[in-house]
């Protein structure tokens, strides 16, 4: 049977067909850069924790709670960054000239990281809110928008998991991402307005004057967690590439098998019509 299997082009599903040597050296450089990002992120996290929990002073108004300032806002920032990247990648996929399944993988990778960061944002925000406002949850515009964003992108990830032809799936999810993303400003606007009619805006944390070291620690946290985000997306993207390759390799064999099925039957013509 295997003797009948013809060689199948591995470039079938848009995998790069560049010579191996080129791929290898490029891959190695990317690999090195990614590892540097990973190490820098890890060092940054350790530094942020050390500065945040031990070195920086407690705040005059918020006391020790101010230490949450070094993780919570940067998580929220990463979540929004992730959704922005996901949206941009989806738009690139939908635009015919830049249509490439790599953009689809990037969109998925970034959205998944975004959901992780959003979940952490919600939990840390709640942990901050309890001692500050006396309640785990307030219907604050930002909180409400973030929560809706979370479920919106959970839906997007569910849509991505639906099996199907890669191109079909990519187009479907890209359109879904577009629709979801357009919802974000509308949600934010409506929720803000809704709240403004109800009660005075809640105390926004971080209003108190910020100590120099505190500002630097906060800045560090933004850089650090952005690096972590980059590391996540790069790895998730690579994983998606591997999965696509696995699918394509499986496909190459399915194709060969399908052809062999015809080849084998052609030999004994009497069977063709049964």
């Amino acid at each position: 049977m295997n003797a009948l299997v013809p060689p199948v082009d591995h470039g079938l599903l848009g995998e790069s067909a560049a010579p191996h040597a080129v791929i290898s050296s490029r891959r190695h450089r990317a690999e090195l850069a990614l590892r540097i990002v990973g190490v820098a992120g890890l060092v940054g996290v350790v530094l942020t924790v050390w500065l945040g929990l031990w070195v920086t002073p407690p705040d005059a108004y918020m006391g020790n709670l101010v230490r949450l300032l070094y993780i919570h806002p940067s998580m929220a920032w990463d979540a929004f960054l992730a959704y922005g990247v996901s949206f941009a990648a989806s738009a690139c996929y939908l635009w015919p000239r830049t249509r490439d399944l790599r953009f689809d993988r990037l969109a998925g990778a970034s959205a998944e990281a975004g959901v992780v960061f959003t979940a952490i944002t919600l939990v840390t925000g709640s942990l901050w809110g309890r001692p500050t406002w006396g309640t785990w949850w307030v219907w604050d515009p930002l909180l409400t928008t973030t929560a809706l964003l979370f479920v919106l992108y959970l839906g997007y990830l569910a849509l991505r998991k639906v099996p199907g032809d890669p191109e079909v799936r990519a187009k479907r999810t890209a359109v879904g991402a577009l629709v979801a993303f357009i919802d974000v400003p509308i949600v934010y606007f409506s929720v803000t307005w809704w709240k403004s009619l109800h009660q005075a805006p809640t105390i926004s944390p971080g209003k108190s004057d910020v100590h120099g070291l505190m500002a630097w620690t906060m800045l560090l946290s933004f850089v650090t967690f952005s690096l972590v985000y980059v590391w996540f997306v790069a790895h998730r993207y690579r994983l998606a590439g591997l999965q696509a390759r696995e699918e394509a390799e499986g496909l190459a064999y399915a194709l060969a098998e399908r052809r062999a099925e015809g080849g084998a039957k052609a030999v004994e013509k009497n069977e063709v019509l049964t």
Binding site: D165, G262, E271
Partner: protein, 236 residues
């Protein structure tokens, strides 16, 4: 001679399963081609691909001048597919379904009555909701839509299946007329004698590819012998 259908090493997929595995086929305009092959060989997939329902994953496919990789939408009004399912709405009557299909494809309404008449759907059946129609009547309706639309490329998937003798004769007549008026026909069928009488050429498909495209295969002895014993194959 310009081609109505030209496939070169076309691959079409359903998820991970290759429906077409590098199929090459050329059909000239005005030709009537009989597609044959075992169940699962790829006949239906080929017809559905020609109708623009299945995207091409690799290779090239051009149907009536439309490249299937680039544009499948504008092809739709020019081809007619008679598939296994009827594409009809159960709640609507036979004539309403026909009218909807014709309006949708911007075809003339003038031929609607004649088409219904011809397929024996002109009496009481005409006002019956499709949900209450028999399988054979639905099949007739699907064919009536095609007859009224008169597409340039006819894609007939087992057109005789499930029909009575009278309607089968109408199918044959329709195919001959389509060919006579310059239409191209791809006819997938297990009824070899019947198809042989209608078609100019036989194309055998197996494993998602054309394996015997040569015209001299038409009267290949083993196949002609088989054709005699093939009558009971119809899925009535």
């Amino acid at each position: 001679m310009p081609h109505a259908v030209r496939f070169r090493e076309a691959v079409a997929l359903a998820g991970r399963f290759p429906l077409l595995s590098g199929l090459s086929l050329e059909v000239a305009k005005g030709e009537v081609v009989h597609l044959r092959g075992a169940n699962g060989a790829g006949k239906t997939s080929l017809l559905r691909t020609c109708a623009g329902l299945i995207p091409i994953a690799a290779g090239t496919a051009v149907v009536l001048g439309h490249d299937l990789c680039l544009d499948r939408q504008s092809l739709r009004r020019e081809v007619g597919l008679l598939g296994h399912a009827g594409f009809s709405y159960e709640e609507l009557s036979v004539e309403e379904n026909l009218a909807f299909a014709l309006r949708a494809s911007r075809a003339e309404m003038g031929r609607a009555d004649a088409a219904l008449e011809r397929l024996g759907l002109s009496g009481r059946v005409r006002k019956t909701p499709v949900g209450a129609c028999s399988a054979g009547q639905r099949r007739r309706l699907a064919l009536a839509v095609l007859v009224a639309r008169a597409p340039r490329l006819w894609l007939l998937d087992e057109p005789h299946a499930g029909l009575d003798l009278e309607a089968r004769a109408v199918v044959d007549e329709v195919v001959r007329e389509a060919a006579a008026s310059g239409g191209t026909v791809l006819l997938a069928s297990h009824e070899l004698e019947r198809a042989a009488a209608l078609c100019d050429r036989v194309v055998t498909i197996a494993g998602g590819r054309v394996i015997a495209p040569e015209p001299d295969e038409v009267l290949d002895p083993p196949i002609a012998a088989l054709a005699g014993g093939e009558v009971g194959c119809d899925v009535a």
